[in-house]
Symmetry: C2
Subunit: 103 residues, 2 copies
């Protein structure tokens, strides 16, 4: 993780539809959802959602698995962990007890 990678993740998340997709998949944990099911759940056009899924995927936040006609998406939990860690780790000039940010 580095500044550039973090900004690309932030860009991917900084849009209402994409953020909702991400939260929906995070809620699913290690389970997955087909693109169509996500589109229906969120009330988004298929092609628009496809574009958003692609952006999330390029940022590494979701991964896809094809099964027949369906593409199943799931959240990349490891990357999310890394990202959150990077966001908060270097705070307070190496004295985390100052802000105690993770609790």
């Amino acid at each position: 993780m580095n500044n550039q990678k973090a900004v690309s993740i932030l860009n991917a998340l900084a849009q209402e539809t994409r953020f909702s997709v991400f939260r929906l998949l995070m809620k699913c944990g290690n389970n997955e959802m087909a693109a169509g099911a996500i589109a229906k759940e969120l009330g988004v056009a298929d092609n628009s959602l496809s574009s958003h899924l692609n952006i999330l995927s390029n940022a590494g936040l979701v991964t896809a698995r094809r099964d027949g006609r369906f593409l199943y998406y799931s959240a990349s939990i490891e990357l999310t962990k890394e990202f959150v860690g990077f966001l908060v780790n270097d705070c307070c000039d190496g004295q985390p007890e100052i802000c105690n940010i993770l609790k």
Copy 2:
């Protein structure tokens, strides 16, 4: 914290200069830096930085304090905590042990 507020925070952070400003101020912890010092440190034009600081400030991520001609900025650590919590809390459908995201 809610989706809309989180997206506004993500938008504020999703730009290289602003993310660098945020990280710089987080590194300062409860200390602060004058706008000019931030601009110099990051090699950004004053007016451009002012615009970015305004965006970070509108998102609640930084606060400003005037002292004479100087405006001192610092990170809003409480909001950052709330934001990170919101990002990761509802994961795994209420079974955080599945991804154990904060550790």
